[in-house]
Each structure stands twice: as structure tokens, then as C-alpha cells.
């Protein structure tokens, strides 16, 4: 059976303390990265939400206003296309949402 001397125990304590310090330093650096990433995620989420709440209605209003302005001068086929495009976009977005829908999120 091996025996541990006082000197060896002191050395072990020293090495263990050094390891703890190294690990604490690692933890701090990793957490800095993690917190920065989380802040960015939150920022992206809010930007998306603001875009959806304000950007989308503004885009729709502008589109309708443009249609209202230019529609009378357009040929009939172009009018159909102008109405079909937003309808198709809305349907495609809805289909995409349904496709990726997860009840957990």
C-alpha cells in the first residue's frame, strides 16, 4: 500500500487549487460568451417581433396604397397579377408556418 506524505498532500492541495483557479477562469470566459449570445438572441427576437408588428402592416398599407394609386391605369392582366402576388405570398407563408409548426415552441 502506498503512503502519502505531508509534502505530497501539500503538493496535491496546491495542484488542486491551481486546477480550481483554471476551471473558474474557463467558466468565466465561457459564461461571457454565453451571455453575449443570449443577449443577441433576445435582441433578434425583439427585432423580429417589432418587424412583424410594425414593419408588416406598413408594407401592406404601402402596397395597398400603391395599388389604389396605379390600379386604374393598369391593364386587366397586370391587375390580376398584382392581387395574386400578395395572396400567394400569404398562402406560402401560412403553409411554411404549418410545415414547421411544433406544439412545444
Amino acid at each position: 500500500m502506498e503512503t502519502i506524505t505531508d509534502y505530497e498532500l501539500d503538493t496535491l492541495f496546491q495542484q488542486s487549487a491551481q486546477q480550481h483557479k483554471a476551471v473558474e477562469q474557463i467558466n468565466r470566459q465561457v459564461m461571457r460568451t454565453v451571455r453575449r449570445d443570449m443577449r443577441l438572441k433576445t435582441l433578434r427576437k425583439w427585432t423580429k417581433l417589432l418587424g412583424l408588428c410594425f414593419g408588416l402592416p406598413v408594407a401592406v398599407v404601402l402596397y395597398i396604397y400603391a395599388l389604389f394609386l396605379f390600379m386604374p391605369e393598369m391593364p386587366e392582366q397586370l391587375q390580376t397579377v398584382c392581387i395574386a402576388i400578395p395572396v400567394a405570398t400569404v398562402l406560402a407563408l401560412a403553409a411554411q408556418r404549418l410545415h414547421y409548426f411544433s406544439p412545444e415552441v
Binding site: M1, E2, T3, I4, D6, E8, L9, L12, F13, Q14, Q15, S16, A17, Q19, H20, A22, V23, Q25, I26, N27, Q29, V30, M31, T33, V34, R35, D37, M38, K41, T42
Partner: protein, 186 residues
């Protein structure tokens, strides 16, 4: 502090609530074993620290791909992959002196050969022995050896004489020595 919360619950909190404290708790739990595994592979403290750091950052970024099981083991696997990649890079740069390295398995073997296994075993045994001590004794060890608090100050904190603390520390040390010698079996 989320000491008693399970790993799964902590991971859920990170993913759903963006809770950084939950990930901090996971790190506190597993960073030392992962660091030790990285040290075993890299045989260099700086490299091991870098590998551990990268492994935890990667684990955080891929947290949604974790499919249950031992979280510590999962991060250790990530650390091993990163470590082997680093060793391969070093080998290509010619920074590794070993000429007979053929594969990543060889690299791991070489890292293991040069690694002081007994020292790491003793360190691990010491860590385990400390966790088995009563809280009051553990606190004295933590203060004196990890925070560098002098015995006089510990005595003042605990309202005891310095001699009392010296005797107590001597007994704790004897207990720890026995535990390390017997591999924590008693």
C-alpha cells in the same frame, strides 16, 4: 443557486427561458471533470483550458441536439473531438515531436503515455475525499488551501483558538491521506 435541479431541467431552462444561470450551474458541475479529461488528452494545461472552453461553447450552441443521458460525458466527448483536432493540427505544423504518429488513436495514446496518471488519480481521490468530509471540515480546507486564508483568520471566523484549528486541520489531513491511500474505499 440551482444545486439540486436535474441536468435535464437546467437544459430546458437554457433552451426555453434563455436562462444563463442554468448553464452556469451545468458548467460548475462538469467543468472540472471535462478539464481533467482534456488535460489527460492534451498533457498541457493551457491547451486543456482552451479545449474545455471550446467544448462548453460548442455544447451550448448545440444544446438542442442533446438527446438525454450524461451531460458531462457528452461535453467530454465534444472536448475529446476538439482536442484530437488540435493535436492533429499541431502534428501537421510539426509542433509534435513524435514521428511515429499515424492516426488520431495514436495521438490519444501518446497523450496518455506522457500524462502523469498517478498524480491525476491522487488529485481525483483528493477531490472525492474532500466532498466526503463534513461541511465544517470542508469549509476549513476550502478557506485554508483554496482561498489562502491564514489559520489565525480561520480561528477568528469560527470563534476558536489557532491551536484548536491546527489540531482540527491535522486530523482532517490525516483522514484525507488515508482516503487517498485507500482510493476512497473507506
Amino acid at each position: 443557486m440551482k444545486g439540486n435541479v436535474s441536468d435535464i431541467e437546467l437544459i430546458r431552462q437554457v433552451l426555453r427561458e434563455n436562462d444563463s444561470r442554468a448553464f452556469d450551474t451545468l458548467m460548475q458541475r462538469y467543468s472540472l471533470p471535462v478539464y481533467n479529461a482534456a488535460l489527460r488528452l492534451m498533457h498541457d494545461e493551457e491547451d486543456a483550458a482552451e479545449v474545455t472552453q471550446l467544448a462548453f461553447i460548442q455544447a451550448y450552441k448545440q444544446l438542442d441536439s442533446w438527446r438525454g443521458g450524461d451531460f458531462g460525458a457528452w461535453v467530454t466527448i465534444i472536448a475529446n473531438h476538439i482536442g484530437l483536432r488540435l493535436l492533429e493540427k499541431e502534428k501537421r505544423r510539426g509542433n509534435i515531436r513524435f514521428d511515429d504518429v499515424q492516426s488520431t488513436t495514436d495521438l490519444a495514446d501518446i497523450a496518455d503515455e506522457t500524462y502523469n496518471e498517478q498524480r491525476e488519480e491522487h488529485l481525483l481521490a483528493l477531490e472525492q475525499a474532500i466532498t466526503q468530509l463534513p461541511e465544517a471540515d470542508r469549509q476549513i480546507i476550502r478557506w485554508h488551501y483554496y482561498d489562502g486564508v491564514p489559520l489565525q483568520a480561520i480561528a477568528e471566523r469560527l470563534g476558536q483558538t489557532e491551536n484548536n484549528i491546527k489540531v482540527r486541520l491535522f486530523r482532517i489531513r490525516e483522514r484525507l491521506k488515508k482516503k487517498i491511500e485507500h482510493g476512497n474505499n473507506n
